[in-house]
Amino acid sequence: MTLSSEILDPTWTAFLYLVAAVCFILALKGLSSPKHARRGNLLGALGAFVALVTVFLSSRLENIPWILAAMVLGAALAAPVARRVRMTQMPQLVAVFNGVGGGAAALVALLELPHAEDGWLRVAIVFTLLVGAISFAGSGVTFAKLQELMTTRPVVFAGLPVLMGAVLVGAVGAAAAVVVTGSTGLAVAVLAVGLIAGLLLVLPVGGADVPIVISLLNAFTGLAVAASGLVLGNVLLVVAGTLVGASGTILTRLMAAAMGRSVAGVMFGAFRGGSTAGSTAVSERPVRSSSPEDVAVLLGYAQRVIIVPGYGLAVAQGQHAAAELAQTLESRGVDVEFAIHPVAGRMPGHMNVLLAEANVPYESLMEMSEVNGDFKQADVALVVGANDVVNPAAKTTPGSPIYGMPILEAGDARQVVFLKRSMRPGFAGIENELLYQPQTTLLFGDAKESLTRVLSAVKSL
């Protein structure tokens, strides 16, 4: 049955796709400030709606009841999860959505192959097949690592570099064959090789580097969508995919720079043996440990406190306690800010989302570049569940794995208080000299528990 006919002529179709593309650009532009961001996102959703109406009205489509049913099913699967997911699990969800998008692009390309006579179109098709499949499988592994369905350590085995090389050669060979012959069977082979490549690419990446991989795979899916736009001759897909490709690329580079590493080093570092797995060695050197009451006195009578939250805070679900502590201190007249390292959390900007969920106003969330000069004027730097991001070895020890990584200058504050579970080093597995400095105090325990105890001690001051 054919419900829709060509109600819209090509000019109107092109115009409406342009409207949708502009909506997408404005959606990204809205994110330049938290004030307009939500409106921007709604505008993006409106753009998507316009595009969907347009596709139904602009071409002669069969199978419309089936298509609508599939859309209802997809929405019914995704919307409840999106509405209920915990903010700490956001990286997993983004990985899943990213993967299914890449998978969809690859399937679309596969089905377009029989209609592609032109050699260049076939090049775009095999590109979409490969990159979409890599994104799908890679996102799957990322999800498994984040959800801790598998080990978060790098997975390497002896023949990995050889296998990877063989897969790459196989991919190029199969892709070339598809371009020449246009055979769908070979295209399925390209898809399979792409899936294997995605697995092999992400398995060797350590847990700490997952933020970089998520943004990289996001860029991959964007590029796959853009290429499928070239295949279908659809300008909107080209523009939308390219936008996402650009955003993913920028974020990947930002994240890598914030970790002081190169993107290639993250992806292939484990091949060379320099993995990011944390060491478990415990140092015997003396440190000054303290009680919640002492910390409360330090904080309660300070003028300016900067809180440095790390992933340990999120793991302990302590963001609400941290937010309440900040509010309590502010009501005592203490100036409180949160200093957020770009890689705090498990995806770019993750810590900001976690703190926003705990009702910390976004004006209190300071970027590294804004806040680093302020530590000198701070009475107390309270480091909660973070370690590497304040480790001076990044500046002073050229041989250190984190050398060159920009850090938060918590050591400049008059007093430094660490809330730590143990003396175990962080992800990078390096000793933190700051822990042994005379101005440093440690309070051992689970981040949430420690914060709650400090909080009640501050309240009873």
Partner: protein, 104 residues
């Protein structure tokens, strides 16, 4: 549309993308990623086109799978981004700030 025109648009879109995204506040990098994620869900348009032209049962089945995946990407992406952005509130909101803690 011809290949050269599409290439022109692609190149211009690269510049727009870099320009717009480099201005995004680093506070909002997670919503940026999930928002960008939602935007590439627009591959749904392609999936619908392919499904609408399918005459063979197998082709239709695969195309419908693509429609399901793309819809999940698109809808889920926008919903979760909206949920996150809703949480970013300014200092102005009364009631939350300061009210809980009692000064000594």
């Amino acid at each position: 549309m011809g290949g050269v025109e599409l290439l022109t648009i692609t190149v211009l879109a690269v510049f727009v993308g870099f320009e717009v995204v480099s201005k995004v506040s680093s506070i909002l990098h997670t919503p940026l990623m999930s928002g960008a994620n939602a935007i590439h869900g627009i591959i749904l348009v392609g999936a619908i086109t392919v499904a609408g032209q399918a005459t063979d049962g197998w082709v239709l089945a695969v195309a419908l799978l693509a429609v399901v995946l793309a819809t999940a990407n698109l809808v889920g992406g926008f919903v979760v981004t909206d949920r996150m952005l809703e949480m970013f509130r300014g200092r102005a909101t009364p009631g939350q700030g300061g009210a809980k803690g009692e000064a000594k």
